[in-house]
Amino acid sequence: MTATVFWQLVLGFGAISLVSVGGGIAVLPEMHRLVVEVHGWMSDADFARRFALAQAAPGPNVLVVGLFGWHVGGIGGMLTAVLAMTLPTSFMAFGFSRLRARLAGRLWLKTIERGLVPIAVGLIAASGLILARGTATGWLPAVVTACSTLFVWRTDYSPLWVLGAGAVVGLAFL
């Protein structure tokens, strides 16, 4: 990895992270602009493939930036991109966490916290819906998604069971 690429990763992803309200994936279009349009590091199809790979792997969705970094700078590029994307906002979150502890119990803070709860839950549901639409290439994946929804909602068994079942169904029929 050259010094130029290092700084392009640091400044590019660092800047993007600061506007990523709502989650790392909210800024996917910005990432596309940086990686494909501004620097020409990879093609459109490569970008989509890397994103799909990061989605299929476990872990925070934002790790997709690690794959972009990997593409231009190997393991060093991966670490640089991930740290640029996570460190600056981590300090902000930590500062906020301290502030929150100091203000704990204030009625206005409690009101704000409660008011944000439905948005948090609604966005979890939305991300599930988007994932489902991406995978529903026929009736079978849609059935797997529906069964898995019911299983996780109505039982307290570990969701790892449905992931295993999904892998078996994929192996057998897809």
């Binding site: 409690k110 008011g115 709860v117 439905p118 839950v121 966005l123 991300s127 988007i130 898995s148 992931l163």
Partner: protein, 185 residues
């Protein structure tokens, strides 16, 4: 309201191992799994605690699962916790992803691999939707808050409105609805 049994408090090692696990099983995104492990399995947090922390993580810039992990870590073990929890959550998957990137370049187009990944992804999608349904059932939101949540779901999930607009646009309505609900009590 009767007092629930006291909630266990994790040690620093607990935080490390638990967040490491959450990272490595976090198919389809971290948040649904973090809730499953922190609220149902470990009982360190209530559904309300977890949803509030995640909600704040979403209004702050940065990956929301990371912001939530920092706040949970800080809550139990201060600065050390705020480093250990997100570090464990990112460390495992990062190593896995480096391996996967190498593997995928060589085998990604093998139909068998694609089929298994497709099956897992479909199940993970259902897992995420099921988690949202379960949280709604447990949190029992009053109608106004439920409406805010459904609006977030439709705006982000159906119309694909960019998340910053959804979060910042709906926050005032959520806060207003929460204020009304708390006054009514």
């Amino acid at each position: 309201m009767s007092d629930p049994p006291p909630r266990p408090v994790p040690t620093l090692l607990d935080l490390f191992l638990t967040y490491g696990k959450i990272g490595l099983i976090g198919f389809g995104g971290i948040n649904a799994w973090a809730r499953r492990v922190l609220v149902e399995e470990k009982r360190w947090l209530t559904d309300q605690d977890y949803a509030e922390t995640l909600g704040l993580g979403q209004v702050l810039p940065g990956p929301n699962a990371l912001n939530a992990a920092i706040m949970v870590g800080d809550r139990f073990h201060g600065t050390a916790g705020a480093i250990v929890a997100p570090g464990a959550m990112f460390g495992g998957p990062l190593i896995l992803l480096a391996g996967l990137a190498t593997f995928y370049d060589a085998y990604g187009e093998v139909p068998l691999v694609r089929a298994v990944l497709a099956g897992v992804a479909a199940a993970a999608a259902g897992m995420v939707i099921g988690t949202a349904a379960k949280m709604t059932q447990k949190l029992k939101p009053p109608p106004a808050l439920l409406a805010v949540g459904l609006t977030a779901l439709v705006a982000a999930g159906v119309f694909r409105v960019p998340l910053p607009y959804v979060v910042l646009g709906l926050a005032p309505f959520g806060i207003w609805a929460a204020r009304r609900a708390m006054r009514a009590r």
